[in-house]
């Protein structure tokens, strides 16, 4: 597409006019500011590509002389803020909060109250002037996988260099927020100080991964364990347990260890741990094994790829 056309300017437009035209399109059509407007989005993408080219006098001159064409890079969706903005785990959004003193109240009432924006209080008191609650301050904290699974404690560094102790509730998930009452901005008058809102990112673990309360591990097993079955030790978040591998196990088969996963706060029952088996060949294939396999194959060939024929 002709970049001048994308911005709606003449070929002779000045740099100032080009900037003005681009600014107008950003204002009216930027997808992060105008969600849901698909026509606007196309206009913005074309204009952004065009502006990238025309804002640089050298590139613009090259384009005008026909030395380069207007092929811009199409911008991947991941580059727009809107693909994160509404997500549950967006740290700038707030999301679900853990509160030390929270009672389990009616979800719907809570939701309506939040939607109407009622929080804290500010106002004039006849006798004593103006009072307002302090502002909430946002922080973000990465916690080790095990601390998130089992609970723990850590410290965050505040912008003024001081440190604040944080209790990590057991079972906290990526994107959830811990509210520390009174650790935010100062109050006005007799208002309450604001809260510190700490959004958690759970660091990955080298053997465990997690989906909600369920913990997942990939467990390497040997040929012979797969063929003959075995009892093997499996790590869980609360120490190793024994697992029976059934006779004739395959890679990718998933076994379930009941109640060896994560118990979220406020619940005693733990989730499960899933164990995905992965058959690992011995480091070297010796003559004995190769010879046995050749003999075995002659009599017992089987085709695990039978179902794959299109």
């Amino acid at each position: 597409m002709d970049p001048y056309e994308a911005l709606g300017v003449k070929k002779t437009a000045s740099a100032e006019e080009i900037k003005k035209a681009y600014r107008k399109i950003v204002k009216e059509s930027h997808p992060d500011l105008n969600p849901g407007d698909t026509a606007g989005e196309e206009r913005f993408k074309a204009a952004a590509n065009a502006y990238d080219l025309l804002k640089d006098p050298e590139k613009r001159a090259q384009y005008d002389r026909g030395e380069i064409d207007a092929q811009g890079q199409d911008r991947p969706e991941a580059h727009f803020y809107r693909s994160y903005a509404g997500a549950r785990d967006n740290p700038y959004r707030g999301g679900q909060q853990f509160d030390e003193s929270e009672d389990l109240s009616d979800f719907f009432t809570d939701f309506m109250r939040q939607a109407r924006g009622a929080r804290g209080g500010a106002g004039h008191d006849h006798m004593h002037g103006f009072h307002a609650d302090g502002a909430d301050i946002r922080y973000r904290l990465e916690v080790p996988f095990m601390d998130a699974a089992l609970g723990g404690s850590t410290r965050i560094t505040l912008p003024d260099g001081s440190a604040l102790g944080v209790q990590i509730p057991r079972g906290i998930e990526d994107g959830q927020t811990i509210r520390l009452r009174g650790k935010g901005g100062p109050a006005v008058g007799k208002g309450r100080p604001g809260d510190a809102l700490i959004t958690i990112s759970v660091a990955p673990h080298k053997i465990f991964s997690r989906e909600g309360d369920t913990v997942r591990v990939v467990l390497p097993i040997t040929f012979d364990e797969a063929v003959l079955g075995a009892k093997v030790e499996v790590p869980t978040i609360s120490g190793p347990v024994n697992l029976s591998i059934p006779k004739g196990a395959s890679s990718g088969q998933v076994l379930r260890l009941r109640e060896r996963g994560i118990a979220p706060r406020g619940r005693d029952k733990r989730g499960d741990q899933l164990v995905e088996l992965k058959i690992v060949a011995p480091p070297a294939i010796d003559d004995e094994l190769a010879g046995f396999m050749e003999g075995w194959r002659r009599k017992h060939a089987y085709d695990p790829r039978k179902g794959m024929k299109p």
Partner: protein, 117 residues
């Protein structure tokens, strides 16, 4: 959890971002770095890449000063949060039996028509 970017990596990733601008945005709390006590460092996530990209675009187009930019981004956050909540409400309504769905639709129409808050 996904990739964590260092200061250098995020500067390389976001067009128009340099060290001075990153420091300015962090100071104005337009982005909040991820505190990583176990690694004794701080980092940024893909959401920050997208947010900084938007911040840089808005700065380049409109010469916003930090407070104005902060106001805009907060409104953007609210807008998207509200849209996500609205979508969740609509999905929940969509799961209701036909008769109840119609009841909700009528209630909505009435409220929107009378401009109730």
């Amino acid at each position: 959890m996904s990739v964590v970017y260092s200061d250098e990596q995020i500067i390389a990733e976001v067009p128009g971002l340099d060290r001075a601008l990153l420091l300015r945005f962090v100071k104005a709390r337009i982005v909040v770095p991820l505190d990583r006590p176990a690694e004794r460092t701080r980092g940024f996530l893909p959401v920050d890449v997208a947010r900084l990209r938007l911040a840089c675009e808005l700065c380049e187009s409109f010469d916003f000063e930090d407070d104005a930019l902060d106001v805009i981004l907060r409104l953007v956050d609210r807008l998207h949060t509200t849209r996500a909540e609205l979508r969740a409400v609509l999905d929940a309504v969509g799961d209701l039996p036909e008769a109840q769905r119609r009841q909700v639709a009528e209630g909505l129409r009435e409220r929107l028509a009378t401009g109730a808050r």
